[in-house]
């Protein structure tokens, strides 16, 4: 009776379940960088914890360690050497977790919850970029209490992405600010949003040939993703597409938030996950959907690809899209892993 529940409704895509999942919704999910031989997965969650698993080639997951913050964890980021993880929390701080020693140390602070953190690895410097609901974007040397640089955002940060030398920050006023990280971080331009609803997630994509960051995908709460080039050769290169919507039997359409968007590291195709409880794979160049998943019975809150693009991880848990009264703390949270390299191959035509 009960096993049936978890087998059927909980995992309709028959993916590999990560063992010992977080006790509350996952808010951040990242795979270790290519610099470490093994594959580690780190998840930050609303129970204020950050957990780390090793993912073996077989798909078997082994819980490795966990750390606590003083508030829910909204973002995590790996150091490029793969030895440390940064954890951003509503407790207004970011801590650095040294995995080898299992010690944490505060490395950044804001006046409000820190929504995102990203490790910036430039040829001539490294730093931690943090963005917060205090409407600032800050850059930190992890050895000092003071930020090296603080830039004003037009509004609270809702999402951010870094792919050196580019950074993109989406804010509560539906703004998108683009930054160049070359030499030192500087705002390049603010883009008029192609979307009419609240920004929720952003990811940077690279040019197919030059392999340089050339644009970004921006997801909104209105089941829509915009593909936007920083300097489009043709205005028609920019477009938006609808996703994570469901047709009700009464003809009523439910539109769900796009909770996360991520680009495949090898193929340049992308994945979206939504409040509707599904993930989809897309080819932005062919402007087609490559695959859509079965519906899960809870929203998908985050997704991530490992560095080689073999594994797609997605987190399942309540995302508050139906308000607090629909929160059922007894409902289990999951992280699933799925081999994805083939599914995300671009359409060949």
């Amino acid at each position: 009776m009960f096993p049936q529940l978890s087998a059927g409704g909980g995992n309709p895509n028959k993916d590999v379940e990560v063992v010992s999942p977080p006790d509350d919704t996952v808010a951040a999910l990242e795979f270790s960088p290519a610099s470490v031989p093994q594959t580690f997965l780190v998840a930050g969650s609303w129970d204020s914890k950050v957990r780390c698993w090793e993912v073996e080639a077989s798909g078997k997951t082994v819980p490795k360690a966990e750390q606590s913050m003083d508030g829910p964890v909204l973002d995590v980021a790996w150091h490029d050497d793969g030895t440390k993880v940064f954890m951003a929390s509503t407790d207004k701080t970011v801590k650095c977790w040294d995995l080898a020693s299992n010690q944490t140390m505060q490395v950044a602070a804001h006046d409000a919850s820190v929504k995102t953190c990203h490790w910036v690895k430039a040829p001539n410097y490294t730093c931690l970029m943090t963005a917060s609901w205090d409407k600032t974007l800050k850059f930190w040397d992890t050895r000092s209490a003071a930020a090296i640089m603080s830039l004003a955002l037009s509004e609270r940060c809702y999402c951010a992405a870094v792919d050196y030398p580019m950074a993109a920050v989406g804010s509560a006023d539906r703004g998108v600010a683009l930054y160049s990280l070359e030499g030192k971080p500087a705002e390049v331009k603010r883009v008029e949003s192609p979307l009419k609803y609240q920004h929720r997630c952003v990811a940077i994509f690279r040019d197919k040939k030059t392999k340089q960051p050339t644009g970004f995908a921006l997801g909104s709460v209105e089941g829509r993703v915009a593909i936007q080039y920083v300097s489009p050769t043709n205005p028609k290169d920019n477009f938006t597409f609808k996703c994570h919507r469901s047709q009700g039997s009464g003809g009523y359409q439910d539109i769900f938030a796009v909770n996360d968007v991520a680009f495949h590291p090898a193929h340049g195709t992308l994945a979206t996950v939504g409040s509707d409880g599904s993930f989809s794979f897309w080819d932005k160049d062919a402007r087609t959907k490559l695959k859509s998943s079965e519906l899960l019975d809870q929203p998908l809150t985050k997704c991530a690809f490992n560095h080689s693009g073999q594994i797609f991880a997605y987190a399942v848990g309540y995302d508050w899209s139906k308000g607090h009264e629909n929160y059922n703390s007894a409902k289990k949270n999951y992280i699933f892993l799925r081999p994805c390299f083939e599914d995300l191959k671009p359409r060949s035509t």
Partner: protein, 388 residues
């Protein structure tokens, strides 16, 4: 070649070889059978039109014309009624009509499949035709949608067509049933499309479908009253009405309040960036939020009340059976009640918050001794050069 022949043959459909008495009816047939989007049932005008529509609106590739004969499934060819039919096919058709098999002797370049298919126009040949029903690898046309259409006898065809011809008139009858094509939201289309549709080469298809879900109740451009609610009559965004991120809304819950930090602020270098007036700033922020919430929520309820009363009746079962309490789902913005409930709570926020920023006061960010190199001026010195 002998493209004259122009005998008074009846209009026929290139895709399925069916004959019609009138080209008008042929066009209606083509729109209903061959140019209809299997997802939103919008009827396009040509094969390429359908292909572009599906690509742009639904992100699906259509590589074959639905319900077409196997050798006539090319979606690239632009055919409208009798226009655009490749001349050799016209010729072939006429030969079939007049001399029976004679023509095919001279035209041997035709693929075998074609010959097999041609009989279909004379008398429905069930066996030959069925392949045409499974058109694309993407499977956009579930066979069940067109149950045995090809096998129908001519009488049934006409029977089927009658309602199709009325389609334009039918739409308003079921505005909610076909969200994508619902008329109510059309009025907002012009405003919307100007702003957002960035790449619609075929505006006919993209434009017609775009506005439906996006038709906002209020002027789309004016986002003076930040709300996530407003959508067209046929759709609804599953998000609390307040235009604030889910994380912010969730973080207000007492369960998620950050724990007060035991380690009190260690006085040390006060980074200029971090202002001690945290609590003030935050209070302002939340006050703002509260302000537009009250306005917004009121507006939202008005806007939605009507739509919802109507919608509630049609509402389908909750999406998340395990989580959703039955009555929750009836009111569309699940969060209207909660938000209202939260309003009185807001002041609390401002009261509670000031207790916490204590830890952020001068330099409190980093407890002393955490930095191997020591803090103080050194930290500042260490970093500055990095960007120089």
């Amino acid at each position: 070649m002998g493209r004259k022949k122009k005998k008074a043959s009846k209009p026929w459909c290139w895709y399925c070889n069916r004959e019609f008495d009138d080209e008008k009816i042929l066009i209606q047939h083509q729109k209903a059978k061959h140019f209809k989007c299997h997802i939103c049932h919008k009827k396009l005008y040509t094969g390429p039109g359908l292909s572009i529509h599906c690509m742009q609106v639904h992100k699906e590739a259509i590589d074959k014309v639905p319900n077409s004969l196997p050798n006539r499934s090319n979606i690239e060819i632009e055919i409208y009624g009798m226009e655009g039919i490749p001349p050799e096919d016209v010729k072939e058709h006429e030969k079939q009509k007049t001399g029976g098999g004679k023509g095919s002797d001279s035209e041997d370049d035709e693929p075998a499949a074609k010959k097999k298919a041609t009989p279909a126009l004379l008398g429905p040949g069930p066996s030959t035709v069925s392949p045409g029903i499974l058109p694309t690898p993407m499977g956009p046309v579930p066979p069940s949608m067109y149950p045995g259409h090809m096998q129908m006898n001519p009488m049934m065809q006409h029977f089927m067509q009658a309602p199709r011809m009325m389609m334009p008139g039918m739409r308003p009858l079921f505005p909610a049933a076909s969200v994508p094509t619902s008329t109510p939201s059309k009025p907002t289309f012009p405003a919307y499309s100007n702003a957002t549709i960035s790449a619609p080469p075929t505006t006919s298809s993209a434009a017609a479908s775009e506005p439906k879900e996006n038709g906002e109740v209020k002027p789309p451009a004016a986002h003076s009253c930040p709300l996530v609610t407003a959508t067209g009559a046929g759709s609804k965004i599953i998000h609390p009405p307040e235009d604030v991120s889910l994380e912010e809304i969730r973080a207000r819950n007492s369960k998620y309040r950050p724990k007060p930090k035991p380690d009190a602020p260690a006085p040390s270098v006060a980074p200029t960036m971090i202002t001690p007036s945290t609590s003030q700033a935050e209070a302002v922020m939340y006050a703002q939020v509260a302000a537009h919430m009250s306005a917004a929520v009121a507006a939202a309820r008005q806007q939605q009340a009507a739509a919802q009363a109507q919608a509630a009746a049609m509402r389908r079962a909750p999406m998340m059976p395990g989580v959703v309490l039955p009555q929750m789902r009836v009111g569309v913005p699940v969060s209207v009640p909660p938000v209202m409930g939260m309003l009185p709570v807001m002041p609390q926020f401002n009261l509670v918050r000031p207790l916490q920023p204590g830890m952020l006061l001068p330099g409190g960010v980093m407890p002393m001794g955490m930095f191997p190199g020591g803090m103080g001026g050194m930290g500042g010195m260490m970093m500055q050069p990095r960007y120089r």
